[in-house]
């Protein structure tokens, strides 16, 4: 197979002015070859001080290392007109600008989409905000938690006797950033047709509203407001259990028809003498008509509980899957690091970070046969200051 050495998006440049809400979108583009320039305020981007830290000191952020991998860095004081002018000059050399300020804040400083459009007609200007550029909530104060709950997902997450939950990593930010990445590339293809960049308005609330599965559809069609069901999947007004304890943690297993005969064979092979009727359960859907009684379900689950409780999560995963049962371990971050599957696929990579030294880092999140993924460290503050500003001052870009 012919291999070019160019990454898929190597001709392009992006300016990244985002907070944590956008960091992942540009990190992904950097891995795909885009020259991403992190534009930082004097003193550095706030997420340089964000934990977890590699060492005791507060200048060893692994968050920064992960979320800004492969980017270059330049410091500009956007309160200062001379630096704003440097940004405008830089924007003439760029294909994308990502920002996440409050609607109107960039324009108020003369660096909004309309301000740059004349000088940089090729620029795809991606604005990432909690609620979008206009509308009744567009100026609401927000955070990852606010974005998460505003789309509706928290109502499906958590134990019924406690508050609705968010995942303890910033999913609303990261899902939004992924949407911004997709949108930016759609706008890039649009530019191939029109010859011009445009304004891309990405909403965190909308991104999260798109994660509701079929729950909102059940409301619209049947008036059912699905509620959170703990470690179960709330399916309209019925919940099907997902999470089970095991000897050293937890596993995820759903009693879908396709798994039930295999489960019976597996338990038998392990000497567990299953009592449930595999034929019967293989004909029972988790939703719809002819659902089993709560007692029948409880009896089945207690049998499964007993079987899982005597075994470890990774061993249940290996042996269950080999018997054709759709079971998964509830992996910790360490389990992911230790995953034999990721090891076999060479997922982890090494980089030498100028400040943190040698680091083990997650590598390509997708394998492309002709265009390599770029695994590179995050930039130190002002690392590329001179090369970026000098080049921008002299570079007359010939467009796309």
């Amino acid at each position: 197979m012919s291999q070019t050495t160019q990454a898929a998006l190597s001709p392009y440049r992006a300016l990244d002015l985002t907070s944590e809400i956008g960091s992942l979108s540009t990190m992904l583009l950097a891995g795909l070859g885009v020259d991403v320039i992190r534009v930082e305020p004097p003193g550095g981007h706030p997420s340089r001080k964000r934990g977890p830290m590699l060492r005791e000191d507060q200048d060893s952020s692994l968050y920064w290392a992960q979320m800004n991998a492969g980017k270059r860095s330049v410091t500009l004081d956007l309160a200062d007109e001379a630096d704003r002018e440097r940004l405008r000059t830089l924007s003439e050399t760029a294909d994308f600008l990502f920002e996440s300020d409050a609607p109107g804040a960039m324009a108020a400083r003369g660096i909004g989409h309309r301000d740059l459009r004349e000088r940089a007609p090729q620029l795809i200007y991606v604005s990432i905000t909690p609620f979008g550029q206009t509308g009744p909530k567009s100026m609401w104060a927000a955070s990852d938690l606010i974005g998460h709950v505003s789309g509706g997902l928290s109502s499906l997450v958590g134990d019924p006797d406690r508050a609705p939950l968010r995942p303890s990593v910033e999913q609303a930010y990261n899902i939004t950033a992924l949407n911004a990445g997709s949108a930016a590339l759609i706008a890039l293809h649009a530019r191939h047709l029109t010859g011009r960049g445009q304004h891309v308005d990405v909403s965190m609330q909308a991104a999260m509203a798109n994660t509701l599965g079929n729950a909102r559809l059940y409301y619209e069609m049947d008036g059912i407001v699905t509620e959170r069901a703990g470690g179960a999947r709330a399916f309209a007004d019925r919940a099907t259990r997902i999470i089970y304890s095991c000897a050293d943690g937890y596993v995820a297993f759903v009693r879908i028809p396709a798994s039930m005969k295999a489960l019976h064979r597996w338990m038998t092979a392990e000497g567990a003498h299953p009592r449930f009727d595999a034929e019967k359960w293989a004909g029972i859907s988790i939703a719809g008509n002819n659902l089993p009684s709560d007692d029948e379900v409880a009896e089945l689950e207690s049998e499964i509980e007993e079987f899982f409780a005597a075994r470890g999560a990774q061993s249940l995963y290996e042996s269950g899957q080999h018997h054709g049962v759709m079971i998964c371990p509830v992996n910790t971050m360490q389990d992911i690091v230790d995953s034999p599957q990721l090891a076999a696929r060479g997922f982890f990579d090494k980089v030498v970070d100028p400040e943190l030294g040698s680091l083990t880092v997650p590598g390509a999140p997708l394998k492309m046969s002709a265009t390599p993924w770029r695994t590179r460290p995050a930039p130190t503050l002002t690392q590329h200051q001179n090369e970026i500003l000098t080049a921008a001052a002299t570079d007359i870009r010939d467009g796309d």
Partner: protein, 414 residues
Amino acid sequence: MTSNDVPGAHVFDGVRIADFAWVGVGPNATMQMAFHGAEVIRVESSHRPDTFRNGGPRPPGVNDLDASAYFAKFNRGKRSVAINLAHPRGAEVAKRLVASADVVTESFAPGFMHRIGLSYEEVRKIKPDVIMCSMSMEGQTGPHAKFRGFGLTLQATAGITGVTGWPDRSPVGTGVAYTDWVATHLGIIGILSALDHRRRTGEGQYIDLSQFEASTLVLDAGVIDAANTGRVARPLGNRDLRHAPHGVYPCADDHTGGDRWVAIAVTNDDQWRRLALLLDRQDWLESDELCDAAGRLAAQDALDAGISRWTRTQTVGEVEQILQAVGIPAHRASNVRDAHEDPQLAHRNHWWTSDHPVIGEMSYESPAWRLSDTPPPMPRRSPLLGEDSEYVYRKLCGYSEEEFQQLIVEGVVE
């Protein structure tokens, strides 16, 4: 063009996707491209229908394969061709379709496409510059390549379930097929990057997307932390490692039914002072310990109790209004009704209405992005199973009317 096409910007005009993927991830990815003008052809079979064609909700009493709104949600703007890939001549038809395609997508268990003669190596013999994207659970290679799962269970493998829950209880996960919403975007980004590369070089390629690997992207620094320090992130309920108070608090009944909760996130010291003032908590204002995040993090139990005492006397709407008026991040924990009726989502025209001969009129999600210059038209409704078979067999695969009829008789078109 069909009657419910409306004018709009077709960014991917001329791009054809032969979509062998099914269920959530693949169809969701190709739908975003269909919205923006790609011709996406779902390869389907009534013999082995997409799981979501049997899903719900569906109109009461209607049990055929065209009645699922869940399927419709993921397949608007596409065409559907019926090809029985288990039939010996099914692969022949599929190969003709692939020859006319720019992109081939699939999400079968690894090995299936190879067995029916449609591995990337075979496909590129037919269409040398094709972009093929496989989107399986754990990738095409490795000891777990054939392990099975779906979004509800894969999020456990991918580490999301384990960090979603209360510290004193078992983790719960997100209750939805969460990894679907992550892997979808890696699919889109991979395919659009490959199309861009092909545009410049003429070179196609194969994309091996592991939903597991893709989903680890959203774990922030969790994986890099464990890999380099051995620390393991744990679920924190609704708390945050940097900010306090930070939680979801109970509210008074607002007569909409169900329990009502509001999220409040104090992310800086100014917001904290404003909150203390609003709640008339002189003791909080005067406390030296509480003036910074470290002190507030240490006092979270007491702060949460104090905030809850107040929120219990207010409706979710009142808390939003009072706190947002002074710039404190707050929002109701929206349930699906709130999301459906949300005034901000309505302002963005987020829920797109689609009329379907079996399902009727329903609204479905639109992209989270809005493009200023090339907004897409309203997409065509989702296709009935095999609705476009004649078009695909005759126009794209080049079969004559007689050959098409013969393939129907032989059971290839089903």
